[in-house]
Amino acid sequence: MKVEKSTLKLTVNGQQKEFLVLANDRLSDVLRKEGYFGVKTGCYTGDCGTCTVLFNGDPIVCCLMLALQAQGGAVDTVEGMAVGAQLHPIQEAFLDEGAVQCGFCTPGMLLSAQALIHKVPDPSKAQIQEALSGNLCRCTGYERPIRAIQKAARRMKEETA
């Protein structure tokens, strides 16, 4: 069987993109190769969550998606959260609350949080714990990330009101 590259067309952070990929490529590796370093990899088995991105708005672990399966889809990475120099409220809340330590799990957590708040503007602590349970963290004990998400949700609710 001849190994050929195919064209993967998708939207990344709202921009139309075309990447040349192999059938064998994982979406996580393609995104990193194309410069989206906020997509981390920590296990390649979908357990750590550091490769979390939003696919058509839903958090997924993109190390478990073949790149070509994303054909025509929309991916959101952490690079799309800030607008220019202005950080997203969730990013600011994480810094306010000391929720960032080594930072390796942070992009994944931020995206999981963004997806949650979009669905549930007023999330309870239990809902936040649930939403973050696919993002492992060895630094924070999850305590301050949860507070940050609660804070961000409140602020975002006020801003849309």
Partner: protein
């Protein structure tokens, strides 16, 4: 082995044709959450992620497409209301949000792991599956689907959908799972479904996972319970029958002694929760 070719069919027939016509080792891929964890990848894949993600109530029958994600099932309110939250409870205990957004019902069943979380609920819902191969489509009951650990009747056929009758009004059901952490692969999982008339059990269905070469129905416990009062003693007895029906192994996740003990404890607990008794 690396995947050399990626096929993207737009219909079930096309998918089955692609699988049949290629030489070499191929696999269907939907969520990818099992396949991409394998050490060895197939030579080609046929992508069915965007096919077969239908969920519907078709008359008196629930239909779930094989590519419906665990999240879809979790959020399907019509089903949750009809099955007393059985499938919803199973979905909620599954892995993580990210995995739930990708993993499919079909993938969970096709993996044929004894701990497949959706097997016990679908067994007590008396589900059947529709499978399509080169020779066309066929239907079979779910309890004829699994043939051993990691083995099902599928071979290279495509699991299309799962169907089960809408449970009678007032049906009580409960899914419980025990793992090392929340969302872990089951050390033991159990599904129980009861139809009561007053305090009498008119219909009982009990299924266990992760404690035998395949997920199993516990017919002896079901037969024992039917037409009996829903009492503590009878639940205890049924739970012990469930324990006896199981033949768990010891592995990384738990010893056979602990699994055996949990068959009994979880079955009893699930039965009690069906009738609203606090544990």
């Amino acid at each position: 082995m690396a995947v050399k070719a990626f096929f993207n069919p737009t219909s079930v027939e096309e998918a089955v044709d692609m699988m049949a016509s290629q030489t070499g080792e191929g696999c269907y891929v939907a969520g990818g959450t099992d396949l991409l964890c394998e050490k060895e990848w197939p030579e080609f894949v046929v992508n069915v992620r965007d096919l077969l993600n239908h969920v519907a109530l078709d008359g008196d029958e629930f239909v779930i497409g094989a590519s419906a994600t665990v999240s879809q099932i979790e959020y399907w309110q019509e089903l949750t209301q009809a099955d007393d939250g059985l499938m919803h409870g199973c979905a909620k205990a599954f892995a993580s949000r990210q995995i739930r957004n990708m993993a499919t019902l079909g993938g969970n069943l096709a993996s044929a792991v004894p701990s497949a979380d959706f097997a016990p609920p679908l067994l007590v819902l008396e589900a059947g599956c529709v499978v399509q191969g080169k020779e066309g489509a066929r239907a079979l009951p779910l309890d004829a689907f699994f043939s051993g650990p990691h083995r099902s009747v599928l071979e290279k056929d495509l699991l299309v959908e799962v169907r089960f009758p809408k449970p009678a009004a007032g049906t009580k059901a409960c899914f419980l799972k025990i793992g090392r952490t929340p969302g872990d692969i089951a050390v033991v999982n159990v599904a129980v479904l009861l139809v009561l008339e007053g305090q009498t059990v008119k219909k009982a269905r009990i299924a266990l996972g992760a404690v035998a070469p395949t997920p199993i129905r516990v017919y002896q416990a079901e037969t024992f319970l039917e037409d009996k009062p829903a009492s503590e003693e009878n639940f205890q007895q049924a739970a012990e029958l469930a324990q006896q029906a199981a033949s768990p192994i010891s592995d990384q996740r738990g010893s056979h002694a602990y699994r055996s003990q949990m068959c009994m404890a979880l079955t009893r607990r699930a039965l009690r929760q069906c009738v609203g008794r606090d544990e």
